[in-house]
């Protein structure tokens, strides 16, 4: 590699690695989760990336989901806003028919940036599992403003909620015991008794 090529490579690497050119991220976490029908699951919408380099001031996002699979029970502020203490958090409006939470937003009050060098959860969203299936959770209308109130370039990534059948509880237990009882009676009639303690079969 010639000195010129080496110099160009070094410049390219430092350009890519520079926080000034890196994006802020807004992600659904965890990216995938499973929940039983009738149960609830809480997801976070987290802001990350190089937020510590620029200082985050305000944020906003919408969240879309499949309303035939899950519903939104509540939206709460995440710990991202907590360090400042003086802030406003707007939980947005839930449109169950459309499967959308619109305009979730938050900002500190006064000229103070959020003291979150590594980012964190801007909001938590609790979903209730309605029916078996998979619902994508998609972020849109995302805005993150820097301490200078400049709009940051954002990369968003959504998530998936898999709703599985509810676990069989007492009913399955009762059915299993009944089946065992019937089986035991049938084997006794045929003259075969399982002797579990002896670890074998004994003929009567």
């Amino acid at each position: 590699m010639s000195p010129l090529e080496r110099l160009l490579t070094l410049a390219a690497v430092s350009l890519v690695a520079s926080p000034a050119f890196a994006n802020t991220t807004m992600d659904v976490a965890p990216a995938e989760t499973s929940v039983s029908v009738g149960d609830s699951s809480t997801l976070e919408v987290a802001i990350g990336g190089f937020v510590g380099e620029v200082g985050v001031y305000g944020f906003q996002f919408d969240l879309s989901y499949d309303p035939s699979i899950v519903s939104v029970e509540r939206v709460d502020e995440g710990p991202l806003l907590a360090p400042g203490g003086f802030k406003v958090f707007l939980p947005g409006e839930v449109d169950e028919g459309a499967g959308r939470v619109g305009f979730v937003a938050g900002t500190p009050l006064g000229p103070q940036p959020l003291d979150v060098p590594h980012g964190g959860a801007a909001a938590t969203v609790r979903f209730k599992a309605l029916a078996r299936g998979t619902s994508p959770i998609t972020i849109s209308n995302a805005v993150v403003l820097s301490f200078d109130r400049e709009e940051l370039s954002i990369e968003t990534s959504g998530g998936l909620v898999r709703v599985v059948p509810e676990p069989a509880g007492p009913l399955l237990c009762a059915t299993s015991l009944l089946a065992l009882f019937v089986y035991e009676r049938a084997t006794r009639r045929r003259g075969v008794v399982k002797t579990f303690a002896a670890g074998g079969l004994r003929l009567r």
Binding site: T107, G110, L145
Partner: protein
């Protein structure tokens, strides 16, 4: 006879009472997410006159509040 009235506008003072306080923020939160053609839209809250009240408008007022303000 004519009288000249000179008004001193304070950025972020949406209700024009001379101070930026929680009542200005409340004007925005009541209109938040509304577009100009929707009920509940308050043009005073649309600071950047984009036709939508969003976080860009919200931070304009929030930034101008004293740092130890508790509104809600």
């Amino acid at each position: 006879m004519s009288v000249a009235v000179e008004a001193q506008l304070t950025p972020g003072d949406l209700n024009l009472d001379g101070v930026v306080d929680c009542t200005d923020l409340e004007i925005q939160t009541l209109s938040f997410g509304r577009q100009s053609d929707q009920p509940g839209f308050d043009p005073r809250a649309d600071v950047d006159q984009s036709g939508l009240v969003d976080v860009r408008d919200l931070v304009f007022v929030a930034w101008r509040l004293p740092a130890t303000t508790t509104c809600f």
